[in-house]
Structures are given as C-alpha cells and as structure tokens.
Symmetry: C2
Subunit: 313 residues, 2 copies
Amino acid sequence: MNALIVGSIGIDDIETPREKATGLLGGSATYASISCAVHAPTRIVSVVGDDFSADQRMLLEERGIDAEGLETAAGKTFRWGGRYLQNYDERETTFTELNVLRSFDPKVPESFRNSEYVLLGNTHPTVQLKVLDQLGGPELVVIDTMNYWINNEKQLLDEALGRSDIAVVNEEEVRLYSGRHEIPRATEAFLDLGLDAVIVKRGAYGASMRTRDGWFFLPGYPLSEVRDPTGAGDSFAGGFLGYLASEGSITESTLRRAVVHGSVLASFAVQGMGITGILGIAREDVMTRYREFLRFSQMETEVAKAAGEGAIA
Amino acid sequence: MNALIVGSIGIDDIETPREKATGLLGGSATYASISCAVHAPTRIVSVVGDDFSADQRMLLEERGIDAEGLETAAGKTFRWGGRYLQNYDERETTFTELNVLRSFDPKVPESFRNSEYVLLGNTHPTVQLKVLDQLGGPELVVIDTMNYWINNEKQLLDEALGRSDIAVVNEEEVRLYSGRHEIPRATEAFLDLGLDAVIVKRGAYGASMRTRDGWFFLPGYPLSEVRDPTGAGDSFAGGFLGYLASEGSITESTLRRAVVHGSVLASFAVQGMGITGILGIAREDVMTRYREFLRFSQMETEVAKAAGEGAIA
C-alpha cells in the first residue's frame, strides 16, 4: 500500500549539551517520510522555498520518496532552531521562521489521491483538513499535533481529529488537550472524539497505545547515549505508518507490531544529529532492532527464551 | 521456600492532594512482608517500640507473617510523615522520628537462620550487614536502599551491595549512586559491584531489570487514579521476592515473571491509603492482574491474542 505524509520541511539549527549544528534538513515530513520509506512506498506533500537546494530534494528522492507533492513557493524555506538543556530532558525553541509555511495551501497531486495510509504530520489543522478534503477515502489516517494548535486552534484541530483514526501525541499534549493529569483518564478524551486509538509517546520511556479494547505498552530502547532527540516523534509516526502500509491490514496484532516499528525508527533517529540517524539504515537494521525490542519486553517469545534459561543468581 | 524481610516498621502520617490520614501502620518491612506473604511463607526482622499495639502486630500475623523476629524495644515506634505534592509527582518528608530504629541491633531468631530468599529492605546498611552475618547462606539476597545512605554511608552500602545478588532501586538512586544520567550507563555501576541484576523502579512508567545478559522492561499498570504512592517500591520488592521464593528457582524466566508480580503488588499498593491497597488481596486478584499486565505488554501470548484480532480501524 502507498503511504502519504503531510507535514513541514525545514532547515534546522540544533544545539545539544555536547554539540551544535546549523542548516540541517529537518521538519516533521522529512523525518516521517524517511522513516516511512524504510517499509513502504512513500509520498510527501509539503512546501519549501526557492532557497531549497536540489541536493536536499535529492536526499529525499534517493530514499524512494515520491516528492511530486513537494511544492516550491516563492520565499524562504521554514526554519527552526532548538536547544536541548542539560540531560536532554527539556528543549527550548530558539527561533521559528515560518516563511513559506505561513501561506501553505496544500495541493495533493492527482496521482496521490488514491493514497490509503496517511499521516497528517504536525502542522496547522487547516492544512491537515485541506489534505483530507483532496483524498479519495484513505483506509487509515494517523494524526500528529502539538501544544500550539491545542491552545490556539482547538476547534479546527477537533475537526481534524474527528476525521482521523489514530492520534500520535506525547504525554504533555494529552494532558493539555484533556485537562487531566493521569494518562489513562486523559486519553479518554481522544477516544470520545471517535478515534480508534491514541498513541502516547513517552520519550525514553517508550510508547503506549490505547484502543477501545485496552492498552499496549512498549518500553523505550535503552540507549547509552542520546545524541539529538529532534524528530524522534516524527520518526515514530513514520515508522508506525510505514509498517502498517507494508502489512496492508489494521488489527490489534499489526498495530502492536507497528508501535514497535515506530519505536525502532525513533531509537535510530536520536542516535544521530538531525536526520543522520535514520538516513543510513536498511530494512535489515530495522529488523535486528525489532527483535531486540521483543527480547527485552516479551516473556514468552523465542527471542526472550534465547535471552537465557540458565540459573543466573 | 521461606522468605525473610528486614526493614522498618513505623507509624505514618500521610497527606495527598485529596486526603490526609494519621497513625497508619507503615514502614518498608510492613509493605514488603504483606506483599511477599501473598506468594510465600514470610518472616520478618524489625523493631517496634512499646507503643506498638497488639492489633498492629496481629494485622501482620493474620497475613501469615512470622513475627518472631519483630523485637519490641523500650521507647517509641519509628514515625514518618510525608506529603505528596500536586499530581503525586513529588513527595516531601514532613518529619522523621527514628525512635527505636536509631539503636536497632537486629537479632535473627535461630529458626530464621536457614532463610533462603532474603530482602534487605531500605534501612541503615549496618543493619543490612548484621542480618547477613547471621544467616546460613541464603540462595538470593535482594537489597533496597535510598538516597540518604548513598550520600552518607557509601562505604557500608557498597559492602552490603557487594554481598547481595539483586538491587532494587529507583531512577534517582541509580543516577545518584553512579553519577551518570543515562540509565543504561548508570546501571553498569551496580553490575560492576558483582550484582547479578539491578531492577530500576520507574514509578508510573513501570520497572526495568538489567542482568548481565540484557534488559527486561515492564510498563506500569495504567491506573485511572492513584490514591497513595507510599510503599509502592517496598510492595514491589516484596512481591518480587515472594514470587521467586514460591518458584524456588532463579532463571531469566522466573526473574521476568517476578518483575511482573512485583509490579502487580505495587499497583495494588497505590490504590489505597497506607497498606489498605494490599491488605485485602487474594492470590486470585494477583493472578488476574498478572494476566492483565501480560495482555497490555506482550505481543504473542494467548492473552494478547485475546485482546482481539478483528479489524479495528
């Protein structure tokens, strides 16, 4: 199945406690589409300015991403700067220049309208809705958002959520959206909107998925070093959608496996500055890490058994 | 197999954002032994003052806990007060009166010296060491501690850790002990001491276990309401030890199942004020919740499959 990703493409300046880099290719659609393309044919709808280089476009196309929906508008590409504070636990935005994103009016190419698996990446809810309006009737719509839209465009966001199947959000967003602190209660607000599932990203603690039937929890990958957390959530969403598109069916089992694949991509993403963590990976790397995830979270699988049955204490 | 619990018994005053209670039976050994006794015959070594009532002692004995090692000393029972701040994310100690704990010189009754599964609950490392000195050669020693001993009695604590098999600590303690922020790196300090495993309690995020072979992660139980977090860690340790004692073998599989059983007891503990959350539970309640834990964390088990295979989106 084909996957369609909508979101931002930008140029990022990133500062971590250990290093600093400027002019990195970033944005939600960049991380998500590269991650998605590991699993399935991926299309992108986004906008860049006339300063966006052929090399940057090539970088996406080389990953097999269909960039027919990548519009070049007069003006400058979206730019964002972020700084991670001590221990990466907090991030502050150092600047945001919307540039061509400000007036983005998404046009879904004719050849993309039959897309069946869709990710509405974090962007203005109006953009998310306009894309939905142009699609023929996708099988699955996954939606991401952020605090800014919850605070400032709640009504439009509710409309976009109501037309989606699965929301991918973080704990802070779930709490802000619902006004409730405890995550089990807070997630109910999303199911009440008619969503089939809500996935709560929990950073180093992994991810949880709530469906109408119950919960699924997956831990974070135990990394000895995080290099740059930027794009982890977008990579999760892309890996999640891409896996489902490659399976072509949405069941409790495929959803659970998709959460693992989302976490696999997110774990690669944070190991490199910008997109470098996910750029070089092959399907084989992904499957190796997928099996690692099972080994350290499952009790009864073959991989868990392989972790050893001998007396250890 | 018999389980032996060493730790404090105290009278607690607890204040949460929603309620306030005084004069509650508490202490690490109380929570741990009640939790342990769900699974295995449990012995306790601790001290109380002459103000400790017959009813309070009865409460432990009614759970089948052998209180021959519960010394009554002249003076008052240990008292502790704690207040949970907004959302239960932080706790402040409102007062600590060590009373008879200050000069506690543990005496392990003759009939307890063959104990095979031992929990050195959070207390002065000297007490932990003195108990070990009186045991015949336990099969498994699990040790808990806290920031205060890491900061003030590092050398004695290291000795106690070095004579133990498994440490049960929280994230803050792992970081403080190791001086490292990232948990994967931080846990290495414990394995370097010769411990076979370190279990890191992560509050609402569950628990992780690191052995020489790798990791096991279990999420927290998704509670819609936490009533009183006091004793969650002690209940975890007690449930963990009790399950292992009931199995009588220490393998990767029994350890993983013991982490689930520790989490089961901790989840019951936080549902009631003081010990009320764990007082009334039967083995059947524990097994029901054990299966729930598997259903929301496992991919391939029968219980996970039972969560539904139909298309859901």
